[in-house]
Amino acid sequence: MKIPKKHELLELQKKYRTDRKIGEFFGVPGRLVAYWRSKKGIPAFSQPKYSRETILDLWERYGNDRLAGAELEITGPAFRQWRIKYNIKSKPQQLKFRQLELPLLDIPRRSRNSRKETLIQKIIARKAGLKSVEEGDTVELTPDLVTCGAEITTVLGHFKKIGAARIWDNNKIVAVLDQRISPIAVDDHVTPKSLRDWARKQGIGNFFDCGSGVPHQIVCEQGLAKPGDLVFGSNAYVSSCGGIGAVGLPAAALELASIWAIGRIWYKIPPTVKVVLTGKIPRGLSAADIALKLEHDLFHHVVAGKAIEIFGDVVSTLSLFSRLTLAGPVFKPAAAAVSVHLDEISWKNLRKYYRQKLTPLNADPDARYADEMEINIGYLTPLVASREKGRESSKPKIKAAEEFAGRKIDTVIIGGCHGGSLDDFALAAAILRGRHISRDVQVIIVPGSRKTYLEAVEKGFIRSFIESGCVVSSPGCSRSEWPTGDAERVVATSFCGDSVNEIYVTSAATAAASAVDGAVTDPRKYLL
C-alpha cells in the first residue's frame, strides 16, 4: 500500500479527525496512522470542547453567563472562562433571535430524546393528522395549498370527468396561467376567458392571469405558501417551495383533480438524504450553480424518489430567491421533496414575506437519514447542464462551463421557471450593462413574476437588458419563448423547451456572458 503524503494526511485528518477513522479509510489500524503522523510531524487532531462559534452564539443569544452556561450544562463561571478564552468580552447590545423549534398547531411536543424526525416527516405527519411517520409509511393527507400552472387545462378536464360540482376548498387552490395563452383556444378547447369564468364561479381568489409569473415564485414571494406547509403542484418546480421550509410535491394531473374534489391524497414517506454544503459561494457563482452541482451529485437519489434536506452555513446567507433556486429542479426531474434548512438567520430574512406570526419547523438534530453527504462548494466553478437534441429523457451531462467554452449558440433565454428572480437578473444585468449581445444571438428575458419585473425596472436591470439588445417578455414560464422551428443551440436558465433543440442549462450569469460572446462562456471573466 502506498503511504499517504503529508498534505493527503492533513486533508484526511480534516475530514475524519481521528487516527482510527483515517485507518478505516485505508484499511489499516489507527496506530499505523499515528506512526505516519509522527514521522511527518503532524500533531494529533484536537479541538476544544466548545467552538468559538458556539460560545459566541450563546452569548449573543442570552448575554448572561449563567443562562448561556445552562444551555451547555456548565456553570456560569465556566462559561465565562470559555468567553475569556475566545476574547468575547463586550455584552451584546441586543439579544439575538432565538432558534425556533416549536411544533405548529396541535401536534403535542414530545420529549427531546424521542424526536428523530426529518423536516419532511414532521410536515407530512402534521398534514396526515398523525403524531409521527416513518420512512415507508403510506398515509392519506390534506395539503395546505395546491398550485397549478399551464397544466390547469388537463387538471380541469379530469375534474369535470370526476363530476364534482365544487372545489373542496377554494382558498387552498392557486391557479396561474403561467404561459402566454392564445385568446382563441388552447388544449381541450379551454380559453383563458373560460378559465377566468370557471375560477370566478368556483370562488378561487388566488387566480393569476397570464403575465403574473410562475406558480412557485408567486406563492413564495406573496406569502401564500408558508414555512411548514405542504404544497402539491402540477409540475416539478413546486419543489422550490422547499426553499422556505415548506414541502413541495409534484403530482400528476389526475391526482390534482382528485385533490380539488376531495381534498385528500395518499403519499408514501420516502427515505431522506441529508446534504451539508460547506465552504463559501465563490465570486461570480450563484445558487443556480450549486443547484446544478446538487443535480449532478444527487441524480440517482432523485430518480429513486428520495427526499433531500439541505443544510450548511451557506444556506443562512441566501436570499429567498436563491433558496427557491436551490430547492428547485434545474432540468425538471421531479425529486420526492427538497427542503432547505431554515435557521434563525434565514428566518430573519424571510419573515418579512409573511403577515402572520409563524414558527418555522426544523428537522430534529438527531433525525435519521437514509444517507448523508457533504459537498464543498468552495471550489465550484460555473456549471452547464447539456442535453443533445432528441434526447429529452436522458440524463443531462453536467460539466464546468469552460468545457463547453466556444460552442456557438443561437438563442439565450434568461428567466421563466428557473432563473427569473431578482438575484438572477442582478447578475445578468451586471454582465450586460454597457455591453451589447452578439449579433448572432437572440436573447429573451422572462421575469419569474410581476413583482420581480417591477423591481427589476426600478433597479435599472430591465433598462440594461433592453440597451444591450435583449427582448423582455411578460412574466411567466419561458416555454412559449423557445424556438420551435429549426433545431437551435439554446442556452437557458430553465429547461422548458422541446427536444428539437440542443440545450445548455446554466446560471443567469453564464447565460448573460454567453449572450455577449455568442458562445458558451465562463461568466467570471466579466464579473471578477
Binding site: 403510506t138 392519506e140 402540477s234 394531473a253 426531474p333
Partner: protein
C-alpha cells in the same frame, strides 16, 4: 383488497424499447398481439428503462395511459421509481415490486397475482412481492383515481 388477477407476462426488453415516445411502446405491444389476450403483466427488468418517463410527470402520465390502453393491468419490476409508481396507481395499474432476477419469469407465461398472499403464482412455484398498502389498494380496486374519487363523492 385487490382482487386476484390472471395475466400474461410480457417483457419490456430491447424489442419493447421504452426509451422512445410512449406511442412507440404502444405500437410495439400491438405488434406482439395475436388473437385475444388476457390482461398483461408487463415486466421491466432493467431499472434504467424507467428513466425516460420516471422523472417527468407529463411523460410518465402519457406512458401510463398508453399501458392502460394496451391492456396492461400490472407492472412488475424489482423497483419502481416512486413518481411513476404514483402515476400507475392513478390510472389503476397495479405496481408489483419483487425480485425479478431470481423470479425467472418467461415471456408470454401465464401467471396469477395473488394479493392475499402477496405472491405471483406460476407453474412450479410462487414469487413473493411487496404488499400493496391499503390506501393504494382501494384506488386500484376502483379502477384508478378517477373512479375512486367518484365513489367517495357518491357519483
Amino acid at each position: 383488497m385487490i382482487r386476484n388477477l390472471k395475466a400474461s407476462v410480457l417483457f419490456a426488453d430491447k424489442d419493447f424499447s421504452l426509451a422512445g415516445e410512449p406511442q412507440d411502446l404502444f405500437q410495439s405491444i400491438i405488434r406482439e398481439r395475436s388473437g385475444p389476450q388476457p390482461p398483461i403483466a408487463l415486466v421491466i427488468d432493467d431499472y434504467h428503462d424507467f428513466l425516460p418517463f420516471a422523472l417527468y410527470l407529463d411523460r410518465g402520465e402519457a406512458m401510463a395511459a398508453a399501458l392502460k390502453e394496451n391492456n396492461v393491468f400490472a407492472l412488475v419490476a424489482s423497483r419502481i421509481p416512486p413518481l411513476f409508481y404514483r402515476i400507475l396507481v392513478s390510472v389503476g395499474i397495479t405496481p408489483v415490486e419483487c425480485d425479478i432476477a431470481s423470479a425467472g419469469l418467461k415471456n408470454h407465461e401465464e401467471i396469477e397475482l395473488d394479493f392475499v398472499k402477496n405472491e405471483i403464482q406460476r407453474r412450479g412455484g410462487a414469487i413473493r412481492f411487496e404488499s400493496i398498502p391499503e390506501p393504494i389498494g382501494k384506488i386500484i380496486q376502483s379502477g384508478g383515481l378517477l373512479n375512486y374519487t367518484r365513489t367517495l363523492l357518491g357519483k
